[in-house]
């Protein structure tokens, strides 16, 4: 380390940094700090010599990686590892698990649970929980089926009614939680029972409403774009979009004189993304092509991820997950953010419920029941969203749903009973929560939480 050629240079910068910053009279222009502040072009920010600066290139990556793992910033690393292990195990047990057909089907089957899990991610970011997503998904599917099939309402109207019902349910939950002050746990537990009852009421005496198979929801689920172009085009678009955004960001940062990602870094990331994207596209094209359901799921993930990370609304959601009182004092409308998050959660539950109904081509009394609720929450947590609030991403819905879906699919292929499926999914969820808790403890010790 001592023969690092960078060391003396840093020492020099440190000395520069030591120099007392004079406070020119114009450093705080009238009109507040938001007025443009003149910056000297050669103004090198003081660099703390104790700061561990990441080296460039692969070595830098490995070092950074090791540091992150040891300080508990695991992110989606455990879930990616888990996915690799699960696929390796089931793939070795039965070669049909890793077949294009099975993986393509898997990519469709995870969408329902995954959509619900996206909503759960939002609620978990606040450090709260929504126990009603299962029932809400069932209710909204029933609303769509009854309107569309039984009453012959225009299918688009039925679809919008079903989704808006979810939004209104979320508003109701949010109102009791944010305005009345009932713990979210209790409100949504009551909702879990109540909305399930309403669903039974809506379905009526027959108890099951079969979808026609030609309605918009069924088509959303079952459409597959067979052209080779579709999947590869999507992969190409994703890679180009990522690369373009990264390069643009770097250029702006460079121009503004703030730290930017080196080009090697961007190239490496783009390469990893390209490998994953084209591999997925290739696999899908080996079977039937790109499922519309998967496309819709990915669009929801990307758009909501953008909302969370790049808009002030998302910033406020994270702030609430970190320090509610701090967020309130910063002028954030805490009740509104809470209510809107519950609205997003229930809306996503409704959308997920529609995909699940399309999957079984009906809305029935068992819709939204079983272990759907557990699976949706487990997916969000397994995917790396913290139960403690303030940490997470919509991508964890995809990763978590993939893990759970893979376990179910692998066990079905092996012909194992529900008993084993439940036990293994439970164990994976426990493992995810343990990792989350341990990571949080390590983060605290390493000063990252």
């Amino acid at each position: 380390m001592t023969d690092d050629p960078q060391a003396p240079k840093q020492e020099g910068r440190y000395e520069e940094g030591r120099a007392h910053h004079p406070l020119p009279e114009d450093s705080m222009p009238v009109g507040g700090v938001n007025a443009p502040v003149p910056v000297a072009p050669d103004a090198t920010p003081a660099v703390d010599p104790r700061l561990i600066v990441r080296q460039e290139g692969i070595a830098g990556y490995l070092g950074e990686f090791r540091r992150r793992v040891s300080s508990g910033e695991l992110g989606s690393l455990p879930v990616v590892l888990a996915l690799i292990v699960i696929w390796a195990v089931f793939g070795s047990l039965n070669s049909s698990f890793l077949s294009a057909q099975n993986l393509s089907n898997l990519s469709q089957q995870i969408v329902g649970t995954g959509m619900i899990a996206i909503g759960v991610v939002f609620v978990l970011l606040l450090g709260e929980i929504d126990l009603s997503v299962g029932s809400v998904s069932g209710l909204c599917a029933a609303i769509f089926a009854v309107l569309d099939v039984t009453h012959g309402v225009n299918q688009w109207v039925a679809l919008i009614c079903a989704i808006l019902s979810g939004t209104m349910i979320g508003l109701l939950h949010g109102f009791f939680f944010a305005r009345v002050g009932v713990p979210a746990f209790v409100v949504t537990l009551a909702g879990n029972l109540g909305w399930n009852g309403l669903m039974l009421q809506v379905l009526g005496s027959s108890g099951t409403v079969n979808l026609s198979g030609k309605d918009i929801v069924s088509r959303l689920y079952s459409t597959i774009y067979g052209q080779q172009f579709a999947a590869y085009g999507l992969a190409t678009a994703a890679v180009l979009l990522f690369l373009g955004a990264a390069l643009l960001d770097t250029r702006r940062r460079r121009a503004a004189g703030v730290p930017y990602r080196p080009v090697t870094d961007i190239a490496l990331r783009t390469a990893v993304l390209a490998i994953v994207a084209y591999l997925a596209a290739y696999t899908l094209n080996q079977y039937k092509g790109l499922p519309l359901a998967l496309l819709v799921f990915l669009i929801f993930i990307v758009v909501l991820d953008f909302v969370l990370r790049r808009t002030s609304y998302g910033r406020q959601v994270f702030a609430l997950g970190g320090n509610i009182e701090g967020a309130r004092r910063a002028g954030i409308n805490v009740p509104w953010i809470r209510m809107s998050v519950f609205m997003i959660c229930s809306t996503m539950a409704a959308i997920g419920g529609l995909f699940l109904a399309a999957q079984i081509q009906s809305a029935s009394q068992t819709s939204g029941g079983g272990n759907l609720l557990m699976n949706a929450i487990a997916a969000a947590v397994i995917g790396g969203t913290s139960l403690f609030g303030g940490r997470g991403s919509t991508w964890s819905a995809l990763l978590g749903a993939l893990v759970i879906g893979s376990i179910l699919s692998g066990m079905n292929i092996q012909g194992l009973s529900n008993a084993f499926q439940f036990m293994i999914t439970g164990a994976v969820l426990l493992a995810a929560v343990v990792i989350d808790s341990l990571a949080r403890r390590t983060q605290k010790a390493a000063g990252r939480a």
Partner: protein, 263 residues
């Protein structure tokens, strides 16, 4: 600095009272802050200084009394109301979000946007400039607040109060966790704010700091006003005796307590 004071103080409290359960935290508090003036608020632990600050900042609502802003009575129900008036506050407990990075905290609630999307680059640039003027070394403005030292967090909280264009800045023990150099910078900053015509309320237990920058010193004792002193015409001992509620100073108090103990 001591220019002709405008007719109305920018901020005035008239008979403000606040009660927490069995504790009457504030009783009939009067306080005036003029533009271009630094008012130090001093008092023992539990005297009610932070409670008063939170009342002005809209965190707590007073039970009685009025708050006047530039001569007009205003109602401050929420922190947003105070922010819109132009009150910026550094709380004693800082009120930062541990999971957000430095930039995220600095601009929380006032994010800069470009085409409706957060303008991270501009926010980061301003953050660095702002933190540089406070002479603080922070490893990176992109690390979560959780990984900063207590003093670094305090500087971030102070820097946050300067974002936007406040007319009154309230600093609740801003230098409690700061080193010599950073304390000097904060005191410099207070003088610069005064020079720009802002009103500053500075809370501190450090008499040297208070005497260095304050124009007037308001003393709170057990939730009541216990005198407002012109700094120029007052000695430190007089202020300390007002704080402790005795005409004597800390040394004689100790002696008095000693004799009580032997009795």
């Amino acid at each position: 600095m001591a220019t002709a004071t405008p007719a109305h103080p920018v901020l005035a409290l008239r008979g403000v009272s606040k009660r927490f359960g069995a504790v009457q935290a504030l009783t009939d508090i009067e306080l005036e802050v003029h533009t271009g003036e630094v008012v130090a608020l001093v008092g023992d632990n539990g005297a009610g200084k932070s409670t008063l600050v939170k009342t002005i900042a809209g965190v707590n609502q007073p039970d009685a009394g009025v708050i006047e802003w530039e001569g007009h009575e205003v109602s401050i129900h929420r922190p947003q109301d105070a922010q819109h008036l132009g009150v910026a506050t550094v709380y004693q407990d800082l009120a930062l979000c541990d999971n957000l990075d430095v930039v995220g905290n600095l601009f929380l609630g006032r994010e800069l946007k470009r085409f409706g999307v957060l303008d991270e680059v501009e926010m980061e640039k301003r953050s660095r400039t702002l933190l540089d003027t406070l002479s603080i070394r922070i490893p990176s403005v992109r690390i979560p607040i959780a990984s900063l030292s207590g003093g670094q967090r305090q500087v971030v909280a102070i820097a946050r109060s300067l974002i936007g264009s406040p007319k009154v800045v309230i600093l609740d023990e801003p230098t409690a966790a700061l080193g010599v150099e950073q304390t000097a910078q904060v005191l410099d900053l207070v003088e610069r704010l005064r020079g720009q015509g802002l009103g500053v309320i500075l809370i501190s237990h450090n008499m040297a700091d208070v005497m260095a920058v304050a124009d007037r010193v308001a003393v709170l004792r057990l939730g009541r006003n216990n005198g407002v002193f012109e700094r120029r015409s007052t000695t430190q001992e007089e202020i300390i005796s007002a704080i402790t509620g005795a005409t004597d100073n800390a040394v004689t108090r100790r002696q008095a307590r000693g004799t009580e103990g032997t009795q």
